[in-house]
């Protein structure tokens, strides 16, 4: 199958510290690809390079066969890349519903290339069509019960769901999830895994996930890359990577 995302020989330094060195890998369409590695292995840095928040010192990133290395984060969103954050980035004063509504509107803007300065005079209340889409997404991620709650009043687990719903509402081709189970309890993690799985199947999404929890990785991912000190230690089908000698000895310490 053709790779949706290709990372070619990417290197990155924070000051004098080499965080990524010659990372090359591909992510197939409609698959869930995981990144694991010790703290400081370069997982989140790689995610930030894919989403455009950091610029690689060398190497390139291709998405849908197009070189996106020099594109800004917003341009990558319009190309079909959405993401969540390790430390949830929600809009403090808005409700859960407003979060999804904003993303639905952005999707329309991207699709139809609409949106003009005159939007300054158009009411933010959702149209019937927009409301339907928002409700559908909220239902898919199990947020109907808290849709009118301000995000400041919901749990971290639900906050991660809101981020996921906001990303899904953009109808992207690729979603990047940055340590989605961090701070969640076992029950919340299980629910999150279930929802990601069902969304991925239903919407034919490609997902890249950075995660520490190997249970989540085992349950969710089709393919996996293990990073060690900024280099690819192993990459391939999740089971075979986790059972490979080099990963067992170097990363899992068995």
């Amino acid at each position: 199958m053709k790779d949706l995302l290709k990372i070619n020989n990417v290197s990155f330094k924070y000051g004098k510290m080499q965080v990524l060195e010659g990372v090359t890998l591909g992510v197939e369409s409609n698959s869930i690809h995981g990144f694991v590695g010790a703290n400081g292995a370069g997982k989140s840095t790689l995610l930030n390079i894919i989403s455009g928040y950091l610029k690689a010192d060398s190497g390139s990133v291709e998405f849908l066969g197009k070189d996106i290395t020099d594109l800004k984060p917003i341009q990558r969103v319009t190309n079909g890349i959405a993401r969540t954050f390790q430390k949830v980035e929600l809009f403090d004063t808005l409700s859960v519903y407003d979060h999804v509504l904003l993303a639905v509107r952005q999707k329309e803007k991207i699709k139809k290339k609409t949106g003009s300065p005159l939007d300054i005079f158009r009411s933010f209340t959702a149209s019937t069509k927009e409301a339907e889409v928002v409700e559908e997404i909220l239902g898919a991620v199990g947020l109907e019960g808290v849709k009118n709650s301000p995000v400041a009043s919901i749990s971290l687990g639900l906050g991660r769901m809101v981020e996921l719903a906001r990303a899904v509402a953009l109808e992207p081709k690729l979603i990047l999830l940055d340590e989605p189970s961090s701070g969640l309890n076992t029950e919340e993690t299980e629910i999150f895994v279930e929802i990601v799985k069902s969304l991925s199947d239903k919407l034919n999404l490609t997902i890249v996930i950075v995660e520490h929890d190997l249970t989540v990785i085992n349950l969710l991912t089709d393919t996996l890359t293990v990073l060690e000190s900024g280099k690819v230690l192993a990459t391939g089908i999740t089971d075979s990577v986790l059972n490979s000698d080099i990963v067992r000895t170097t990363y899992l310490g068995r």
């Binding site: 954050f85 933010f124 400041a152």
Partner: protein, 646 residues
């Protein structure tokens, strides 16, 4: 004769004072993440106390030890304990209001306590007037030697303290990561108090040394010492003390070179020298990448923090509250129209001022209330509106309302230009950029005959629409009340629009907004432009109300005052801006009647203290009251329903 060496030597004392100020700012900023804009105000207070005591024949050593060392240190520690530590994890707007409260109140409190007369500046280490020796035929006087000697001794002590002492080591640990330092038994709060104490001493020293060079103790110059300090610190990226010191020295020297080479016949020759630090600050903000996130120091261990929990009561505010806002508009209009003929002429005039200021204040509601961005130049835009409208009318005979309309459009573009310049800046960076713009306008633009015509000021006629003449305050009040109502509705429409919702998203999390394709810079461009246009329009209305207006009516201090007033009353609601505007003009009028000459001092102290009290529980006074009334109304309603069911 080549005069360059002379200018260089003349600039060194200024550079030394700036260096002391800049080092003090960097020291406190690095350990707390707070940029102490009240640093210059501290310098002003200490220099007043020192010279008053010294003038009253205290021995120099005693006055120096008591005020410049001991009192300065304790004042710094006290401010940190009572205010700065509470602000550390607050939003940019709250941090700014707290610090601006101090900046506004301190000089006025000092003037209130010590009187408005300046003490005599007596020489202390060396005789100020005597020339000790010549360098390149430049007469080196006592004040020069004094400044350079004290600076060198202090900088050497500072370097020793930070590099070789145990305290220096703990400070470095806290700068690196307060949380990690605490895990090793170092109290980051105590270290930051110490840094603010040392910074306070540096403020005192710079004030005491700057006074003899300027030959006066001037609240304006000393308060603005902070801008030169920030400009130098910005060149050093707010981290390296050595680069900061050298940059400050260079700043002082270039300032004198510039003053020396600009011909005296040039109209703005006297304004160029004091404006130089503002220009450097703008350039540093625009080109130094390390300043893009100034004011948001991040502890490497902050990732382990749970996400910040917002207080629910702050959410009780919805993006718009049509009912309350429209009620406010109707009240104002009804009040103005109905009582226009009843109240005395002077109070009609006061209400006219209130309407005009209300428009300027609404520009703050629109910008800061929607996007969270803080502009410290809204009064400056007001000045543009007033002065340029007058110029267009007097030079081209345009009707005043047409002039005002043209200038409003002009302000829209100038606001946009500032937003474009600061497109990479966030939070405090934008606030500093707008502050530098306000100071530049005060010094370079407004004094010109094309703007405010210096201290002489300009005249704005009242308009005439067909047969309706607005010369009387009564008719002008009705006109302004209608205009205020229209602007209020415009602000409401914008805030409740699609872009208004995007602005709330950007202010909540610019990173999150960017992840769904909402652009921070585009959003800030729209809101800055609109807010500038509204402020310019309000300034024009204010000018037409006053009819004679000068640059002093729109100086940088008003921008700070207006911002603090609106935020304290409630920046997220229309009611907040309107209550702030009318309370301000009514209080000013009452004080004018009963307090006479002390009006400025009383207002500054009141607003400053109000801001300082507000930061302890940052919810707008009007918004809090609305919330309380609402919840009371709800509980009464629920109780009635219960009784009915039973």
């Amino acid at each position: 004769m080549n005069e360059l060496p002379l200018f260089i030597i003349a600039g060194i004392p200024f550079g030394c004072v700036y260096a002391l100020g800049a080092c003090g700012l960097v020291l406190s900023y690095k350990t707390s993440g707070l940029l102490n804009l009240a640093f210059g105000a501290q310098a002003y207070v200490i220099s007043l106390l020192f010279y008053f005591s010294y003038d009253s024949h205290w021995p120099f050593i005693l006055a120096f030890l008591v005020w410049v060392i001991l009192f300065s240190f304790l004042l710094g520690v006290l401010f940190d304990k009572l205010l700065f530590q509470k602000l550390r994890h607050s939003s940019v707007a709250v941090k700014l209001v707290g610090i601006l409260g101090l900046l506004i109140a301190l000089p006025s409190i000092a003037q209130g306590v010590l009187g408005q007369n300046s003490p005599t500046i007596r020489p202390f280490l060396f005789s100020t007037t005597s020339v000790y020796f010549h360098i390149f035929s430049y007469p080196v006087s006592g004040e020069n030697i004094q400044t350079v000697t004290v600076t060198l001794v202090v900088v050497m002590l500072l370097v020793w303290l930070l590099k070789y002492s145990k305290i220096g080591l703990t400070m470095k640990a806290v700068v690196e990561s307060p949380k990690l330092a605490e895990l090793n038994g170092i109290s980051s709060e105590r270290v930051s108090s110490l840094a603010f104490g040392i910074s306070g001493v540096l403020a005192g020293l710079s004030g005491v040394l700057l006074a003899p060079i300027l030959h006066e103790i001037n609240s304006y110059d000393l308060t603005l010492l902070v801008v030169a300090g920030i400009a130098a610190a910005a060149c050093g990226g707010f981290s390296s003390l050595v680069i900061t010191f050298l940059a400050a020295l260079a700043l002082g020297i270039f300032q004198e070179i510039l003053a020396g080479y600009v011909p005296q016949s040039f109209m703005l020759s006297s304004s160029i020298r004091p404006s130089f630090p503002f220009v450097v600050l703008v350039l540093a903000l625009l080109f130094n990448k390390s300043l893009r996130n100034i004011g948001t120091l991040k502890d490497p261990l902050s990732e382990v923090d749970p996400p910040p929990k917002l207080l629910l009561k702050y959410y009780s505010y919805k993006p718009i509250r049509f009912r309350a806002a429209i009620l406010a508009v109707i009240t104002v209009t009804f009040f103005s129209v109905s009582f226009g003929g009843v109240i005395s002429g002077n109070w009609k005039f006061v209400l006219c001022q209130g309407c005009a200021l209300g428009v300027i204040f609404l520009s703050i509601t629109l910008l800061t209330g929607s996007t969270g961005a803080v502009s410290l130049c809204q009064a400056t835009f007001g000045g543009f509106g007033a002065f340029l409208s007058s110029q267009l009318t007097s030079r081209f005979n345009f009707p005043i309302l047409l002039s005002l309309a043209i200038v409003t459009v002009g302000c829209f573009f100038v606001g946009g230009l500032i937003a474009l310049m600061g497109t990479k800046l966030k939070g405090l960076g934008i606030a500093l950029l707008t502050l530098a713009f306000a100071l530049l306008a005060d010094n370079l633009i407004f004094p010109s005959t094309f703007f405010a015509n210096g201290s002489t000021g300009v005249y704005l006629p009242r308009p005439q629409l067909g047969s309706i003449n607005f010369n009387s305050n009564e008719s002008w009040l009705i006109f302004e009340a209608i205009v205020l109502a229209l602007v209020t509705i415009l602000v409401l429409i914008v805030r409740s629009s699609k872009i208004g919702l995007e602005a709330l998203a950007v202010s909540g999390s610019s990173l999150g907004a960017e992840s769904i394709g909402i652009s921070y810079s585009k959003n800030s461009l729209i809101f800055f432009s609109l807010a500038a246009a509204i402020a310019g329009f309000g300034g024009g209305l204010y000018g037409i109300t006053q009819q004679n207006i000068s640059s002093q009516d729109f100086n940088w201090e008003f921008s700070l005052l207006f911002l603090v007033l609106v935020i304290v009353m409630g920046v997220k609601s229309i009611e907040g801006a309107l209550v702030a505007a009318f309370s301000y003009v009514i209080a000013t009028e009452l004080l004018d009647t009963y307090a006479g000459n002390n009006i400025g001092i009383i207002i500054s102290i009141a607003v400053g203290l109000l801001a300082l009290i507000w930061v302890l529980d940052p919810e707008g006074i009007v918004e809090r009251q609305t919330r309380i009334w609402r919840s009371t109304y709800r509980s009464v309603k629920l109780r009635r329903q219960k009784v009915f069911v039973e």
